[in-house]
């Protein structure tokens, strides 16, 4: 390199420093993309036809019709909301012992392994699949939805709670233990106060998720506003569908804002 040449600063490459790796990864990505895009079959005539419907849906979204299907919407909404509340409460109650059992600093190894596998099973099965099975077992309606959401809540909450318990300040637990406290007293006086704010925050977050999920599992027959939405789209009543979607969005927004507010207040 000539030292008297004008030195020009070059921006270092992003992330992958070695040029062979970089170009190798780029090449693989391009090959994959070409294969993927070429295997997508699109019926453009159908898409073009659909644009008119898309426009009607957009109109339905901008001028929603709340009134003509109000009874269906209301009953779907009530099912969704009650399902959300009950499943969150039951799910959180079940997840507390499992979460404590899945924290390595509180539970002996056999209990730990059992609780961890419960969490793994609950987390790896998707809500929709669980809902399909529960609907087949318990019949159509919000009860199957309630069970599905509870099942999903347990895995979610127990995992986060267990991680939280493992991250607590051991000093406090040791201090309480040094007073001669029993295991229950350690949990009550050293662990619970440390994890409670986050537990409440997570429960509210889960409430929010459960409402969103409750709007989906209705598609496979587990009750809630999803069933109403499915019907209205099947009937091409886009203005009612738009109204339902707007209701879902507004409730989720409200839940998000209020849970953020409550979380700030708790901490």
């Amino acid at each position: 390199m000539a030292s008297d040449a004008v030195r020009v600063w070059r921006r270092p490459p992003i992330l992958i420093r070695d040029w062979r790796w970089r170009w190798g990864i780029y090449a693989v990505a391009v090959i994959y993309l070409v294969m993927a895009v070429s295997s997508v079959e699109v019926n453009w005539a159908r898409v073009y036809e659909g644009l008119e419907r898309g426009w009607r849906f957009l109109q339905g979204f901008l001028v929603p019709d709340f009134t003509s299907r109000w009874n269906d919407i209301r009953s779907g909404l009530v099912e969704s909301l009650t399902m959300t509340v009950t499943s969150t409460i039951v799910g959180v109650l079940i997840s507390i012992p499992i979460g404590i059992g899945a924290a390595r600093n509180l539970a002996p190894l056999p209990v730990y392994l059992i609780c961890r596998s419960v969490i793994a099973i609950s987390r790896s099965l998707q809500e929709i699949i669980v809902a399909i099975l529960f609907v087949a077992m318990f019949g159509f309606g919000p009860f199957a939805g309630f069970l599905t959401l509870t099942f999903a809540t347990v895995g979610f909450m127990a995992k986060l709670l267990a991680e939280d318990i493992e991250d607590i300040d051991e000093g406090q637990a040791e201090a309480v233990r040094a007073t001669g406290a029993s295991w229950w007293q350690v949990v009550n006086y050293a662990v619970q106060p440390q994890v409670m704010p986050r537990l409440i925050g997570l429960s509210l977050y889960r409430l929010d998720i459960n409402f969103r999920e409750s709007s989906v599992i209705g598609i496979v027959g587990a009750g809630g506003i999803g069933a109403t939405l499915n019907t209205s789209i099947d009937r091409y009543e886009y203005d009612s569908a738009g109204a339902i979607l707007l209701i879902i969005i507004v409730i989720v927004m409200l839940a998000e804002y209020s849970s953020g507010f409550v979380r700030k207040w708790v901490q």
Binding site: L15, A36, N43, Q126, G139, P142, F143, L229, V252
Partner: protein
């Protein structure tokens, strides 16, 4: 509960008033639960619920053993599923990046007009599940992979944009000042001071979302949006439970593998 010595309370956690407020709160929650439970179960047919163990046993008997030979017909839908997730993620990212820059306080062109619009896009995209997007899109542009890709893309916009704009808001402002002190334009500031700082977060978020999208794209077929879910729907409709079991196993395996890949990639990035 006070800590007691004999019958004398020597220490208690809360004052009486705080204790009572707390109890009132829990009581209200219990009432809400009971009320919700009653409203929810008023149409429940308990006979169906009570015979659930028999139904479960019956279902279990039908589901096992899985029909392994059906696997031959699942490879192509599996490839479609992978494509829906990957192309959908890319589509989502394409729209999410400008939305994120419009939503972040320190890069938004206008705090009072553009930012609320961007936030609204994020919230609407996030609050509607990809299955619902797929339901709509199948009605609009017809069944097929394209509906699935667009559905995944629309759902991903909110997720990626939200996490990305939070990352943009948390950058080190010193670097921005340093670059702007050299006389850089607005675009150059974004290019040289902001992008390098959020790039690792951006790749992490994208891979994370890709992993979630694999999970979601496996079921999009239930409403006709392509992928392995189409096979699931067909098998469910014909009550071919051994095939359903095999599809569940395949979905589970796909999800586990994609989670592993995403964890490895994120580990390598950070």
């Amino acid at each position: 509960m006070p800590v007691q010595q004999g019958s004398v309370a020597i220490w208690r956690k809360r004052t009486n008033a705080a204790q009572w407020t707390l109890w009132a709160g829990w009581f209200a929650l219990a009432i809400l639960f009971v009320y919700s439970w009653q409203v929810m179960t008023q149409d429940t047919i308990w006979a169906f619920v009570l015979d659930a163990p028999e139904q479960a046993a019956d279902l279990g008997g039908r589901m096992f053993p899985p029909r392994w030979s059906y696997m031959d017909r699942l490879w192509w839908p599996l490839w479609d599923t992978l494509n829906i997730a990957t192309l959908g993620t890319m589509l989502g990212i394409l729209f999410a990046v400008p939305v994120a820059f419009a939503a972040a306080r320190n890069t938004t062109p206008s705090l009072y007009f553009v930012r609320p619009v961007a936030l609204f896009i994020i919230v609407s995209s996030r609050s509607i599940n990809s299955l619902i997007w797929a339901l709509l899109l199948v009605a609009i542009i017809g069944p097929g992979i394209l509906a699935g890709i667009v559905a995944i893309g629309l759902r991903s916009i909110g997720f990626v944009a939200k996490l990305l704009y939070e990352a943009i808001e948390e950058i080190d402002q010193g670097q921005v000042e340093a670059v702007s002190a050299t006389g850089a334009s607005r675009a150059q500031i974004i290019d040289y001071a902001i992008v390098p700082q959020v790039l690792p977060a951006f790749f992490g978020i994208s891979v994370f979302r890709w992993d979630i999208n694999i999970r979601e794209s496996t079921i999009l077929g239930l409403v006709g949006a392509g992928g392995i879910g189409l096979q699931l729907q067909a098998s469910l409709n014909t009550l071919a439970w051994p095939q359903v079991t095999l599809i569940f196993v395949v979905i589970l395996a796909t999800v586990v593998v994609s989670e592993w890949v995403s964890a490895k990639v994120r580990e390598a990035i950070s």
